[in-house]
């Protein structure tokens, strides 16, 4: 048993941290949120591509670095810490993973090399309405190779070039790749709680599709992709949560009230200790997820659920209490607390809510208990 990242992986993480501290400081993120069309930093995207990060876990035959998922987890943690305003998760954890899991050799060859270079921004379009993604909640329909329906919210859907779309064909859930710049696709930005990541309402009217995987495999594939993404996102959440703790601690040391550092009051000390405890638990669960993802272990679905539930809880708690520790300052636009407050909710929902993951986890435990 070896339950830690290697020295090389930790060095990569350290490098990523330094890189993002230089290229993606919080005021840059905040400035982007002020703009009319917020949520995407093309310059940073190009730099991230240059680093090779987009292809960290994509095999060399498709132009990637072929390092592995542990390396990708290290990068993810730093992106989360920096609240990076780039469609990394949509492109790498969802779009590329969908291709790697379900794509034909031609499909992989067609898209992955351009994902690695950053030329193709990809995303996944699954939700249509309030409530979890399920067979009952999918109305988008494909027939005769043409897609009709509406997907919303599609994270990074304004800037993405291609989307993996979950729709039904003859009533059977199936995945498709759709060119979002192609015919029959119209999209508009929707305002979201996290202005550092944009989202779209995407409407398909007889849009041509390219099937990904078999007809009827859509939901199973979607879940498998979601499991993988959940682990990677849990690292973004852990990174964000640790950053919140650091911010709260530093503020508590600097700020004086009633003649002493507010960090000297137990109401603050104990809250930060609880934050630390949640972050530690989330990191443990995320590590287990990383191992399961990297080794394609049969435990992956349960490990992913654990990572997701724990990290969503930790990041939300840390983000919310970080605002609180900052007092009135925490409630302002100029102080960075709200970047994490927003992002923690975005990440906590984008791969499905904690509520639905808890349900899914217990369903898997029931199966294991029965076996």
């Amino acid at each position: 048993m070896n339950f830690d990242f290697s020295d090389e992986q930790l060095a990569l993480k350290d490098e990523a941290r330094k890189f993002l501290a230089a290229k993606c400081p919080p005021d840059r993120v905040r400035k982007l949120m002020d703009e009319d069309s917020p949520g995407f930093d093309p310059e940073l995207w190009a730099q991230v591509a240059e680093q090779g990060w987009l292809g960290a876990a994509i095999p060399e035959e498709h132009g990637g670095l072929g390092l592995g998922y542990l390396e990708l987890c290290c990068i993810a943690e730093e992106l989360g810490r920096a609240v990076a305003p780039v469609p990394f998760a949509s492109t790498v954890y969802f779009f590329a993973e969908a291709l790697l899991r379900a794509g034909t050799a031609e499909q992989k060859a067609k898209y992955l090399p351009q994902v690695v270079t950053g030329e193709i921004i990809g995303t996944i379009a699954s939700a249509e309405q309030a409530g979890p993604v399920s067979a009952a909640n999918i109305n988008a329909e494909v027939s005769g190779g043409k897609l009709n329906g509406v997907k919303m919210p599609v994270t990074d859907g304004v800037v993405a070039h291609h989307a993996v779309v979950l729709a039904k064909e003859g009533g059977k859930p199936t995945l498709y790749i759709v060119d979002l710049n192609g015919p029959g696709v119209s999209r508009e930005a929707v305002n979201t709680i996290d202005r550092s990541r944009e989202a779209a309402r995407v409407e398909f009217k007889d849009a041509p599709v390219e099937r990904l995987g078999e007809v009827g495999d859509g939901l199973a594939l979607f879940e498998a992709i979601n499991d993988r993404a959940a682990v990677l996102i849990s690292f973004e959440q852990v990174g964000g949560a640790d950053m919140c703790l650091e911010m709260a601690k530093n503020y508590a040391l600097d700020r004086f009230a009633f003649g002493r550092q507010i960090g000297g009051y137990q109401a603050i000390k104990h809250r930060l200790a609880d934050m630390y405890a949640k972050n530690v638990l989330a990191r443990g669960n995320a590590y287990y997820g990383a191992w399961a993802l990297n080794s394609d272990a049969p435990e992956l679905p349960i490990a992913a659920a654990g990572a997701r539930i724990s990290a969503s809880d930790a990041y939300w708690f840390a983000a919310r209490e970080n605002v609180q520790v900052h007092g009135g300052m925490g409630f302002t636009w100029e102080v960075d607390c709200h970047l994490h407050y927003r992002r923690s909710r975005q990440l906590g929902l984008v791969a499905g809510s904690a509520r639905s993951w808890k349900h899914r986890l217990v369903t898997m435990l029931e199966r294991r208990n029965a076996a």
Binding site: M1, N2, F3, D4, F5, S6, L70, L245, K249, A252, L253, R260, Q261, G263, G264, Q266, I268, K269, H270, L272, A273, D274, Y276, A277, V280, L281, A282, R283, G284, N285, Y287, Y288, A290, W291, A292, N294, S295, A297, A305, G306, I309, S310, R355, W357, K358, H359, L361, V362, L365, E366, N369
Partner: protein, 419 residues
């Protein structure tokens, strides 16, 4: 990163498993820390002796001290397999081997170590920890039990007697312990942390009186221990005179360094909780496990317990690579204690009116959850309260300011006292 056993670990696990299959006692209800059932003591001692003879007691300790001469990972593998077999007979030895003996090993001369370590490892002797007093549990340095040097007792070797008077409280296992380590005040004119000294003590010494305390759970695991003119030799001193505070830190560090994740089962009690919820019917006659709130709670318990298990494994990884583990293990007891109490309360609530039944003949799961309900408050107090642990994390891990101290730079005898 690899969660699976290495080939060597797998081999060791197989060996341990085979040995346990052959040797582990079956069907003995074990004793847990703090509420030892004395009728189980013989079984506990026999099992400890058997483990020691096979090199499975204190696996990490050198063979010359009666240990197994093995690695930290091996000791965890053994604990996992022992717990898988349902054997829980280590309770009476936990304080001695986990805290007292390590303190002896860190401070005593070779002769003393030879005398005590081996027998303790073999389960022949049981130790207790005499720190807390009515005057201070969290604030251990506030203790008042006094040791005064008897000048008339100096012998030809320069050894002499200390005479102890005072009272300890909450001493787990004192009623059956053979020895203890006791923290006493030797200099009341010094500031409170500077006038304490640690001794080992024979619990059969004249003048020690043990009064069992009835716990809220109904168990009788801890005691008041009264000292009336109890004599200890200066040669029983552990560490320097008036350096008892630093020695007590060795004890408490050992307590906290006992790496978690060892025997911890997957998902803690959550899998059992799910099984129970599957058997209870709700308002519509469906299993309670179909209820959304119930499912969410079970998931939360599972994930929290797993988080603790994996955190233990992170520390273990560091230890096994010869690195110092990070501070992450410091959350373990804090999280665990409340988690157990929450789980017990949740499980009792699931049973609706029947949740009050503690009679094993009629209760769900032999009243395990009712016992847990009544026993878990102690976990949040013993070995550092929740509040003290949060202070420690905030101050030592996060670097936040210490508490305001009104007792600094004042001689102990001049400090204000409450009830």
């Amino acid at each position: 990163m690899d969660f699976n056993d290495t080939p060597e670990e797998a081999e060791y696990r197989a060996k341990v498993r085979a040995w346990l299959e052959e040797n582990a006692p079956r069907g003995v209800k074990g004793a847990s820390l703090g509420d030892e059932d004395e009728s189980q003591m013989d079984a506990c001692k026999a099992w400890q002796a058997k483990k020691a003879a096979a090199g499975y007691a204190q696996i990490r300790w050198p063979k010359e001290w009666g240990g197994g001469g093995g690695t930290t990972i091996q000791s965890v593998i053994f604990a996992q397999e022992e717990s898988r077999m349902g054997v829980q007979l280590g309770g009476p030895f936990a304080i001695g081997l986990g805290m007292c003996i390590p303190t002896v090993m860190a401070t005593a001369d070779d002769e003393t170590k030879k005398r005590f370590v081996g027998p303790a490892v073999r389960g022949e002797t049981i130790w207790c920890q005499l720190f807390s007093e009515p005057a201070g549990g969290s604030d251990v340095a506030a203790i008042r039990t006094r040791a005064i040097k008897d000048e008339s007792s100096v012998d030809e070797n320069g050894d002499f007697d200390w005479v102890i008077n005072g009272q300890k409280i909450w001493t787990s296992g004192a009623h059956y312990a053979d020895y203890g380590i006791v923290l006493v005040r030797t200099d009341p004119d010094a500031v409170k942390h500077k006038g304490l000294t640690m001794f080992w003590i024979d619990m059969k010494s004249p003048g020690i009186e043990c009064k069992n305390i009835h716990q809220m759970s109904g168990a009788r695991g801890f005691n008041e221990v009264f000292f009336t003119d109890v004599r200890v030799k200066d040669s029983q001193r552990l560490g320097a005179l008036n350096d008892g505070w630093n020695v007590s830190i060795i004890t408490l560090m050992n307590e906290r360094a006992s790496v978690g994740g060892g025997g911890g089962a997957r998902g803690g009690g959550a899998l059992k909780a799910l099984q129970v919820a599957q058997k209870i019917r709700d308002e519509n006659g469906d299993p309670l496990s179909n209820n959304t709130t119930v499912r969410e709670k079970i998931a939360e318990h599972y994930v929290r317990a797993e988080g603790l298990r994996f955190t233990g494994m992170r520390s273990l990884t560091a230890l096994s690579q010869g690195k110092t583990p990070g501070p992450e293990q410091s959350v373990s007891k804090l999280v665990q204690a409340s988690a157990m109490q929450d789980l017990a309360d949740f499980m009792v609530d699931l049973q609706d009116q029947a949740g009050i039944i503690r009679d094993p003949a009629h209760a769900v799961e032999n009243a395990d959850f009712q016992e847990m309900f009544l026993g878990t408050p102690g976990g949040r107090i013993a070995g550092g309260t929740d509040e003290i642990l949060r202070n420690i994390i905030a101050e030592r891990v996060l670097g936040l300011p210490g508490e305001i101290r009104v007792d600094k730079n004042i001689p102990f005898k001049d400090l204000p006292t409450g009830r």
